[in-house]
Symmetry: C2
Subunit: 244 residues, 2 copies
Protein backbone atom coordinates (compact mmCIF):
# COMPACT_ATOMS: atom_id res chain seq x y z
CA UNK A 1 0.00 0.00 0.00
CA UNK A 2 1.41 3.36 -1.01
CA UNK A 3 1.55 6.21 1.50
CA UNK A 4 2.80 9.81 1.25
CA UNK A 5 5.44 8.80 3.79
CA UNK A 6 7.02 6.47 1.20
CA UNK A 7 8.45 9.67 -0.29
CA UNK A 8 10.08 10.70 2.98
CA UNK A 9 13.72 9.71 3.33
CA UNK A 10 15.42 9.76 6.73
CA UNK A 11 19.09 10.53 6.09
CA UNK A 12 21.62 9.84 8.86
CA UNK A 13 24.90 11.61 8.19
CA UNK A 14 28.17 10.36 9.72
CA UNK A 15 26.41 8.41 12.45
CA UNK A 16 28.91 6.75 14.74
CA UNK A 17 26.91 4.72 17.26
CA UNK A 18 25.20 1.57 15.91
CA UNK A 19 22.63 1.76 18.71
CA UNK A 20 21.52 5.11 17.33
CA UNK A 21 21.10 3.82 13.78
CA UNK A 22 19.06 0.95 15.20
CA UNK A 23 16.98 3.31 17.35
CA UNK A 24 16.28 5.56 14.37
CA UNK A 25 15.18 2.53 12.33
CA UNK A 26 12.91 1.33 15.12
CA UNK A 27 11.20 4.73 15.40
CA UNK A 28 10.74 4.76 11.61
CA UNK A 29 9.10 1.37 11.74
CA UNK A 30 6.87 2.50 14.64
CA UNK A 31 5.61 5.47 12.63
CA UNK A 32 5.42 3.86 9.19
CA UNK A 33 8.36 5.57 7.46
CA UNK A 34 10.44 3.05 5.58
CA UNK A 35 13.22 4.71 3.60
CA UNK A 36 16.46 4.97 5.56
CA UNK A 37 19.59 6.41 3.93
CA UNK A 38 22.96 6.52 5.62
CA UNK A 39 25.83 8.74 4.55
CA UNK A 40 29.30 7.59 5.44
CA UNK A 41 28.48 5.63 8.59
CA UNK A 42 31.17 3.75 10.41
CA UNK A 43 31.21 0.57 8.39
CA UNK A 44 31.08 -1.63 11.49
CA UNK A 45 28.42 0.43 13.20
CA UNK A 46 26.10 0.17 10.25
CA UNK A 47 26.36 -3.62 10.19
CA UNK A 48 25.86 -3.92 13.92
CA UNK A 49 22.70 -1.87 13.74
CA UNK A 50 20.91 -4.53 11.77
CA UNK A 51 19.52 -6.08 14.93
CA UNK A 52 17.16 -3.29 16.05
CA UNK A 53 13.89 -4.56 17.53
CA UNK A 54 11.23 -4.89 14.87
CA UNK A 55 13.23 -3.01 12.24
CA UNK A 56 15.56 -5.65 10.76
CA UNK A 57 13.76 -5.56 7.43
CA UNK A 58 13.92 -1.78 7.22
CA UNK A 59 17.64 -1.83 8.06
CA UNK A 60 18.40 -4.45 5.43
CA UNK A 61 16.80 -2.19 2.81
CA UNK A 62 18.69 0.92 4.01
CA UNK A 63 20.81 2.54 1.30
CA UNK A 64 24.34 3.73 1.83
CA UNK A 65 25.77 6.86 0.15
CA UNK A 66 29.21 8.45 0.02
CA UNK A 67 27.97 12.04 0.24
CA UNK A 68 24.95 14.11 1.23
CA UNK A 69 24.64 15.30 -2.37
CA UNK A 70 24.17 11.71 -3.56
CA UNK A 71 21.77 10.84 -0.76
CA UNK A 72 19.40 13.74 -1.52
CA UNK A 73 19.79 13.84 -5.32
CA UNK A 74 16.20 12.72 -5.99
CA UNK A 75 14.59 14.97 -3.36
CA UNK A 76 12.77 18.23 -4.10
CA UNK A 77 12.98 19.39 -0.49
CA UNK A 78 15.92 18.85 1.84
CA UNK A 79 15.44 19.74 5.51
CA UNK A 80 18.22 19.67 8.10
CA UNK A 81 17.60 19.13 11.81
CA UNK A 82 19.56 21.08 14.37
CA UNK A 83 19.84 21.96 18.03
CA UNK A 84 19.83 25.65 17.04
CA UNK A 85 23.23 27.20 17.62
CA UNK A 86 24.45 30.42 16.07
CA UNK A 87 25.82 28.63 13.00
CA UNK A 88 22.48 27.87 11.41
CA UNK A 89 21.34 31.47 11.14
CA UNK A 90 22.44 31.30 7.51
CA UNK A 91 19.30 29.25 6.83
CA UNK A 92 15.65 29.87 7.65
CA UNK A 93 15.05 28.04 10.95
CA UNK A 94 11.60 26.64 11.75
CA UNK A 95 10.22 25.00 14.86
CA UNK A 96 9.25 21.37 14.34
CA UNK A 97 5.53 22.16 14.79
CA UNK A 98 5.68 24.50 11.81
CA UNK A 99 8.24 22.72 9.66
CA UNK A 100 6.35 19.43 9.89
CA UNK A 101 3.30 21.09 8.37
CA UNK A 102 5.34 22.25 5.38
CA UNK A 103 6.85 18.78 4.92
CA UNK A 104 3.43 17.15 5.06
CA UNK A 105 2.13 19.52 2.44
CA UNK A 106 5.09 18.73 0.18
CA UNK A 107 4.66 14.97 0.66
CA UNK A 108 1.03 15.21 -0.38
CA UNK A 109 2.23 16.01 -3.92
CA UNK A 110 2.92 12.72 -5.68
CA UNK A 111 6.18 13.75 -7.36
CA UNK A 112 8.23 15.26 -4.60
CA UNK A 113 10.69 13.38 -2.44
CA UNK A 114 11.65 14.93 0.90
CA UNK A 115 14.92 14.28 2.74
CA UNK A 116 15.12 14.82 6.49
CA UNK A 117 18.76 15.03 7.60
CA UNK A 118 20.17 14.15 11.02
CA UNK A 119 23.84 14.78 11.83
CA UNK A 120 26.30 12.88 13.94
CA UNK A 121 25.83 12.56 17.70
CA UNK A 122 28.81 14.77 18.52
CA UNK A 123 28.75 17.52 15.95
CA UNK A 124 25.38 17.49 14.26
CA UNK A 125 25.37 18.50 10.59
CA UNK A 126 28.44 20.27 9.20
CA UNK A 127 28.23 23.53 7.26
CA UNK A 128 28.84 21.52 4.09
CA UNK A 129 25.93 19.22 4.96
CA UNK A 130 23.73 22.23 5.74
CA UNK A 131 24.49 23.84 2.38
CA UNK A 132 22.38 21.11 0.75
CA UNK A 133 19.35 22.05 2.86
CA UNK A 134 16.50 24.37 1.88
CA UNK A 135 15.79 25.17 5.51
CA UNK A 136 16.42 23.89 9.02
CA UNK A 137 14.12 22.51 11.65
CA UNK A 138 14.50 22.60 15.40
CA UNK A 139 12.80 20.46 18.02
CA UNK A 140 11.59 22.90 20.72
CA UNK A 141 13.91 21.75 23.49
CA UNK A 142 15.15 23.92 26.36
CA UNK A 143 17.86 26.39 25.51
CA UNK A 144 20.08 25.16 28.33
CA UNK A 145 19.90 21.53 27.20
CA UNK A 146 18.90 21.52 23.58
CA UNK A 147 20.91 18.62 22.23
CA UNK A 148 18.81 15.48 21.89
CA UNK A 149 19.81 11.87 21.57
CA UNK A 150 19.71 10.92 17.87
CA UNK A 151 17.16 8.10 18.16
CA UNK A 152 14.88 10.28 20.28
CA UNK A 153 15.15 13.19 17.87
CA UNK A 154 14.13 10.94 14.97
CA UNK A 155 11.20 9.58 16.99
CA UNK A 156 9.92 13.05 17.92
CA UNK A 157 10.22 14.40 14.34
CA UNK A 158 8.39 11.43 12.83
CA UNK A 159 5.70 11.56 15.51
CA UNK A 160 5.06 15.22 14.70
CA UNK A 161 4.81 14.31 11.00
CA UNK A 162 2.34 11.46 11.43
CA UNK A 163 0.25 12.65 14.37
CA UNK A 164 -3.40 13.30 13.80
CA UNK A 165 -4.05 17.06 13.73
CA UNK A 166 -7.69 16.55 14.56
CA UNK A 167 -7.36 14.05 17.39
CA UNK A 168 -5.92 16.64 19.76
CA UNK A 169 -8.76 19.04 19.25
CA UNK A 170 -11.54 16.43 19.52
CA UNK A 171 -13.56 16.58 22.70
CA UNK A 172 -13.18 13.63 24.98
CA UNK A 173 -16.51 11.84 25.11
CA UNK A 174 -17.60 11.73 28.71
CA UNK A 175 -18.21 8.32 30.16
CA UNK A 176 -21.98 7.78 30.10
CA UNK A 177 -23.29 8.30 33.60
CA UNK A 178 -25.75 6.13 35.46
CA UNK A 179 -29.37 7.31 35.32
CA UNK A 180 -31.22 8.89 38.24
CA UNK A 181 -33.01 5.66 39.16
CA UNK A 182 -29.81 3.64 39.47
CA UNK A 183 -28.13 6.48 41.32
CA UNK A 184 -30.99 6.59 43.80
CA UNK A 185 -30.91 2.81 44.27
CA UNK A 186 -27.20 3.14 45.00
CA UNK A 187 -27.98 5.91 47.52
CA UNK A 188 -30.64 3.87 49.32
CA UNK A 189 -28.47 0.77 49.58
CA UNK A 190 -25.64 2.89 50.96
CA UNK A 191 -27.97 4.56 53.47
CA UNK A 192 -29.21 1.15 54.61
CA UNK A 193 -25.67 -0.06 55.12
CA UNK A 194 -24.71 3.11 56.97
CA UNK A 195 -27.71 2.85 59.27
CA UNK A 196 -27.28 -0.87 59.95
CA UNK A 197 -23.59 -0.46 60.59
CA UNK A 198 -24.26 2.28 63.15
CA UNK A 199 -22.67 5.06 61.11
CA UNK A 200 -25.87 7.11 61.11
CA UNK A 201 -26.99 8.57 64.43
CA UNK A 202 -30.80 8.05 64.60
CA UNK A 203 -31.44 11.71 65.43
CA UNK A 204 -29.41 12.95 62.48
CA UNK A 205 -30.90 10.49 59.98
CA UNK A 206 -32.52 13.13 57.75
CA UNK A 207 -29.41 15.32 57.63
CA UNK A 208 -27.22 12.32 56.87
CA UNK A 209 -29.58 11.22 54.10
CA UNK A 210 -29.28 14.56 52.34
CA UNK A 211 -25.55 14.65 52.78
CA UNK A 212 -25.14 11.14 51.38
CA UNK A 213 -27.43 11.91 48.45
CA UNK A 214 -25.29 14.88 47.44
CA UNK A 215 -22.15 12.84 48.01
CA UNK A 216 -23.33 10.11 45.65
CA UNK A 217 -24.32 12.59 42.93
CA UNK A 218 -20.83 14.01 42.96
CA UNK A 219 -19.43 10.55 42.16
CA UNK A 220 -20.71 10.60 38.57
CA UNK A 221 -21.23 6.84 38.73
CA UNK A 222 -20.52 5.43 35.23
CA UNK A 223 -23.53 3.68 33.71
CA UNK A 224 -21.49 0.58 32.88
CA UNK A 225 -20.36 0.17 36.47
CA UNK A 226 -23.71 0.76 38.18
CA UNK A 227 -24.74 -2.91 38.38
CA UNK A 228 -21.41 -3.89 39.91
CA UNK A 229 -21.69 -1.16 42.53
CA UNK A 230 -25.28 -2.11 43.39
CA UNK A 231 -24.21 -5.76 43.74
CA UNK A 232 -21.40 -4.84 46.09
CA UNK A 233 -23.63 -2.61 48.21
CA UNK A 234 -26.34 -5.26 48.36
CA UNK A 235 -23.79 -7.76 49.63
CA UNK A 236 -22.48 -5.34 52.23
CA UNK A 237 -26.09 -4.51 53.19
CA UNK A 238 -26.94 -8.16 53.87
CA UNK A 239 -23.88 -8.46 56.06
CA UNK A 240 -24.55 -5.28 58.05
CA UNK A 241 -28.22 -6.24 58.51
CA UNK A 242 -27.48 -9.79 59.69
CA UNK A 243 -24.90 -8.54 62.17
CA UNK A 244 -27.28 -5.95 63.62
CA UNK B 1 11.26 29.42 38.35
CA UNK B 2 8.08 27.42 38.79
CA UNK B 3 6.39 25.77 35.82
CA UNK B 4 3.25 23.64 35.50
CA UNK B 5 5.58 20.82 34.44
CA UNK B 6 7.09 20.77 37.94
CA UNK B 7 3.91 18.92 38.92
CA UNK B 8 4.42 16.24 36.28
CA UNK B 9 6.14 13.09 37.53
CA UNK B 10 7.62 10.60 35.06
CA UNK B 11 7.39 7.19 36.72
CA UNK B 12 9.48 4.32 35.32
CA UNK B 13 8.24 0.96 36.60
CA UNK B 14 10.55 -2.07 36.73
CA UNK B 15 12.96 -0.62 34.19
CA UNK B 16 15.78 -3.04 33.51
CA UNK B 17 18.13 -1.28 31.09
CA UNK B 18 20.22 1.56 32.55
CA UNK B 19 20.55 3.10 29.09
CA UNK B 20 16.79 3.51 29.01
CA UNK B 21 16.64 5.24 32.39
CA UNK B 22 19.38 7.56 31.18
CA UNK B 23 17.60 8.18 27.88
CA UNK B 24 14.33 8.97 29.68
CA UNK B 25 16.18 11.43 31.94
CA UNK B 26 17.84 13.09 28.97
CA UNK B 27 14.50 13.60 27.19
CA UNK B 28 13.04 15.03 30.42
CA UNK B 29 15.90 17.51 30.63
CA UNK B 30 15.47 18.43 26.94
CA UNK B 31 11.80 19.26 27.47
CA UNK B 32 12.01 20.84 30.93
CA UNK B 33 10.38 18.11 33.05
CA UNK B 34 12.42 17.46 36.18
CA UNK B 35 10.72 14.96 38.48
CA UNK B 36 11.79 11.36 37.79
CA UNK B 37 10.47 8.53 39.96
CA UNK B 38 11.62 4.95 39.59
CA UNK B 39 9.75 1.97 40.97
CA UNK B 40 11.76 -1.13 41.71
CA UNK B 41 14.55 -0.63 39.14
CA UNK B 42 17.41 -3.02 38.99
CA UNK B 43 19.62 -1.56 41.68
CA UNK B 44 22.70 -1.63 39.48
CA UNK B 45 20.94 -0.29 36.43
CA UNK B 46 19.68 2.73 38.32
CA UNK B 47 23.16 3.63 39.50
CA UNK B 48 24.68 3.13 36.06
CA UNK B 49 22.11 5.48 34.54
CA UNK B 50 23.54 8.45 36.40
CA UNK B 51 25.81 9.32 33.50
CA UNK B 52 23.19 10.35 30.92
CA UNK B 53 24.29 13.31 28.79
CA UNK B 54 23.13 16.57 30.33
CA UNK B 55 20.85 14.87 32.86
CA UNK B 56 23.18 13.93 35.73
CA UNK B 57 21.57 16.46 38.05
CA UNK B 58 18.07 15.26 37.25
CA UNK B 59 19.11 11.64 37.83
CA UNK B 60 20.72 12.42 41.16
CA UNK B 61 17.41 13.93 42.32
CA UNK B 62 15.35 10.95 41.06
CA UNK B 63 13.32 9.27 43.79
CA UNK B 64 13.09 5.54 44.24
CA UNK B 65 9.91 3.77 45.39
CA UNK B 66 9.06 0.18 46.29
CA UNK B 67 5.62 0.22 44.67
CA UNK B 68 3.50 2.08 42.15
CA UNK B 69 1.08 3.00 44.94
CA UNK B 70 3.85 4.81 46.82
CA UNK B 71 5.18 6.50 43.69
CA UNK B 72 1.81 8.04 42.77
CA UNK B 73 0.45 8.66 46.27
CA UNK B 74 0.55 12.47 45.92
CA UNK B 75 -0.88 12.57 42.37
CA UNK B 76 -4.45 13.49 41.51
CA UNK B 77 -4.20 11.98 38.02
CA UNK B 78 -2.33 8.79 37.12
CA UNK B 79 -1.93 7.99 33.42
CA UNK B 80 -0.43 4.74 32.11
CA UNK B 81 1.26 4.46 28.73
CA UNK B 82 0.73 1.40 26.59
CA UNK B 83 1.29 -0.10 23.15
CA UNK B 84 -2.45 -0.86 23.02
CA UNK B 85 -3.07 -4.58 23.32
CA UNK B 86 -6.35 -6.18 24.27
CA UNK B 87 -5.53 -6.11 27.96
CA UNK B 88 -6.00 -2.38 28.39
CA UNK B 89 -9.61 -2.35 27.27
CA UNK B 90 -10.50 -2.33 30.97
CA UNK B 91 -9.46 1.33 31.02
CA UNK B 92 -10.41 4.25 28.83
CA UNK B 93 -7.70 4.42 26.15
CA UNK B 94 -6.76 7.77 24.60
CA UNK B 95 -4.43 8.67 21.79
CA UNK B 96 -1.48 10.77 22.89
CA UNK B 97 -2.75 13.82 20.95
CA UNK B 98 -5.91 13.81 23.04
CA UNK B 99 -4.55 12.57 26.35
CA UNK B 100 -1.81 15.20 26.38
CA UNK B 101 -4.45 17.93 26.20
CA UNK B 102 -6.18 16.53 29.29
CA UNK B 103 -2.90 16.28 31.18
CA UNK B 104 -1.99 19.86 30.29
CA UNK B 105 -5.35 21.07 31.53
CA UNK B 106 -4.86 19.20 34.80
CA UNK B 107 -1.34 20.56 35.26
CA UNK B 108 -2.60 24.11 34.86
CA UNK B 109 -4.37 23.74 38.20
CA UNK B 110 -1.85 24.55 40.94
CA UNK B 111 -2.81 21.74 43.28
CA UNK B 112 -2.80 18.63 41.15
CA UNK B 113 0.18 16.36 40.60
CA UNK B 114 0.11 14.12 37.54
CA UNK B 115 1.98 10.82 37.22
CA UNK B 116 2.86 9.44 33.80
CA UNK B 117 3.74 5.75 34.03
CA UNK B 118 6.03 3.79 31.71
CA UNK B 119 6.41 0.03 32.09
CA UNK B 120 9.38 -2.26 31.61
CA UNK B 121 10.93 -2.75 28.17
CA UNK B 122 9.77 -6.35 27.87
CA UNK B 123 6.32 -6.40 29.38
CA UNK B 124 5.11 -2.85 29.72
CA UNK B 125 2.88 -2.13 32.72
CA UNK B 126 1.34 -5.10 34.55
CA UNK B 127 -2.36 -5.33 35.31
CA UNK B 128 -1.55 -4.46 38.91
CA UNK B 129 0.33 -1.34 37.75
CA UNK B 130 -2.56 -0.41 35.45
CA UNK B 131 -5.09 -0.67 38.30
CA UNK B 132 -3.55 2.50 39.76
CA UNK B 133 -4.25 4.43 36.54
CA UNK B 134 -7.25 6.62 35.79
CA UNK B 135 -6.84 6.06 32.06
CA UNK B 136 -4.30 4.91 29.50
CA UNK B 137 -2.55 6.71 26.72
CA UNK B 138 -1.22 5.31 23.46
CA UNK B 139 1.33 6.78 21.10
CA UNK B 140 -0.16 6.45 17.60
CA UNK B 141 2.31 3.89 16.27
CA UNK B 142 1.56 1.33 13.54
CA UNK B 143 -0.49 -1.65 14.60
CA UNK B 144 2.07 -4.07 13.19
CA UNK B 145 4.96 -2.54 15.13
CA UNK B 146 3.48 -0.65 18.01
CA UNK B 147 6.05 -1.25 20.72
CA UNK B 148 8.41 1.69 21.14
CA UNK B 149 11.79 1.92 22.77
CA UNK B 150 11.32 3.30 26.30
CA UNK B 151 13.53 6.38 25.91
CA UNK B 152 11.86 7.26 22.60
CA UNK B 153 8.38 6.81 24.06
CA UNK B 154 9.22 9.19 26.92
CA UNK B 155 10.64 11.73 24.44
CA UNK B 156 7.54 11.62 22.21
CA UNK B 157 5.10 11.94 25.13
CA UNK B 158 6.94 14.89 26.65
CA UNK B 159 7.27 16.59 23.27
CA UNK B 160 3.50 16.33 22.76
CA UNK B 161 2.98 17.81 26.24
CA UNK B 162 5.27 20.80 25.76
CA UNK B 163 4.84 21.57 22.06
CA UNK B 164 3.36 24.88 21.10
CA UNK B 165 -0.24 24.39 19.91
CA UNK B 166 -0.16 27.66 18.04
CA UNK B 167 3.21 27.32 16.30
CA UNK B 168 1.93 24.61 13.97
CA UNK B 169 -0.97 26.68 12.72
CA UNK B 170 1.03 29.89 12.28
CA UNK B 171 1.70 30.89 8.71
CA UNK B 172 5.29 30.74 7.63
CA UNK B 173 6.43 34.30 6.96
CA UNK B 174 7.58 34.44 3.37
CA UNK B 175 11.08 35.61 2.76
CA UNK B 176 10.87 39.28 1.74
CA UNK B 177 11.21 39.43 -2.02
CA UNK B 178 13.33 41.80 -4.06
CA UNK B 179 11.50 44.83 -5.38
CA UNK B 180 10.53 45.34 -9.03
CA UNK B 181 13.49 47.63 -9.75
CA UNK B 182 16.08 45.14 -8.50
CA UNK B 183 14.29 42.32 -10.28
CA UNK B 184 14.38 44.27 -13.53
CA UNK B 185 18.07 45.12 -13.11
CA UNK B 186 18.68 41.39 -12.62
CA UNK B 187 16.69 40.68 -15.77
CA UNK B 188 18.61 43.20 -17.87
CA UNK B 189 22.01 41.97 -16.69
CA UNK B 190 20.96 38.41 -17.48
CA UNK B 191 19.70 39.43 -20.92
CA UNK B 192 23.01 41.20 -21.65
CA UNK B 193 24.96 38.12 -20.68
CA UNK B 194 22.71 35.87 -22.73
CA UNK B 195 23.07 38.09 -25.78
CA UNK B 196 26.85 38.49 -25.42
CA UNK B 197 27.32 34.79 -24.89
CA UNK B 198 25.38 33.98 -28.05
CA UNK B 199 22.46 32.32 -26.24
CA UNK B 200 19.95 34.71 -27.80
CA UNK B 201 19.34 34.45 -31.52
CA UNK B 202 19.16 38.07 -32.85
CA UNK B 203 15.84 37.43 -34.65
CA UNK B 204 14.21 36.02 -31.52
CA UNK B 205 15.48 38.74 -29.20
CA UNK B 206 12.04 40.14 -28.27
CA UNK B 207 10.57 36.71 -27.59
CA UNK B 208 13.58 35.71 -25.52
CA UNK B 209 13.33 38.92 -23.54
CA UNK B 210 9.74 38.21 -22.56
CA UNK B 211 10.51 34.62 -21.73
CA UNK B 212 13.47 35.58 -19.54
CA UNK B 213 11.46 38.28 -17.80
CA UNK B 214 8.78 35.76 -16.80
CA UNK B 215 11.45 33.25 -15.83
CA UNK B 216 13.09 35.73 -13.47
CA UNK B 217 9.78 36.70 -11.84
CA UNK B 218 9.13 33.06 -11.02
CA UNK B 219 12.39 32.94 -9.05
CA UNK B 220 11.05 35.05 -6.21
CA UNK B 221 14.48 36.53 -5.68
CA UNK B 222 14.92 37.21 -1.94
CA UNK B 223 15.52 40.89 -1.15
CA UNK B 224 18.54 40.10 1.00
CA UNK B 225 20.22 38.19 -1.83
CA UNK B 226 19.54 40.67 -4.65
CA UNK B 227 22.83 42.59 -4.35
CA UNK B 228 24.83 39.37 -4.41
CA UNK B 229 23.02 38.17 -7.53
CA UNK B 230 23.48 41.50 -9.29
CA UNK B 231 27.19 41.44 -8.46
CA UNK B 232 27.57 37.94 -9.86
CA UNK B 233 25.70 38.79 -13.04
CA UNK B 234 27.72 41.98 -13.53
CA UNK B 235 30.91 39.98 -13.26
CA UNK B 236 29.65 37.38 -15.74
CA UNK B 237 28.48 40.22 -18.02
CA UNK B 238 31.92 41.82 -18.13
CA UNK B 239 33.41 38.47 -19.03
CA UNK B 240 30.92 37.66 -21.79
CA UNK B 241 31.25 41.17 -23.22
CA UNK B 242 35.06 41.13 -23.26
CA UNK B 243 35.08 37.70 -24.90
CA UNK B 244 32.56 38.82 -27.56
Amino acid sequence: MSSPFDRLHVVLVNTRNPLNIGAAARAMSNFGVSSLRVVNPWEASFREARSAVGAADLLSRAREFASVADAVADCALVVGTTAAGSRELRHPLRRLEQGAGLIRRRLSSPRAGVALLFGSEKRGLSNEDLSHCHWLMRIPTRERHGSMNLGQAVAVCLYELVRDRKAGAARVPREKEAGAAETERFTLLLLDALRDSGYTAPKAAAATEEKVRRLVRRLNLPAGDAETWLGMLRQIGWKTKSEG
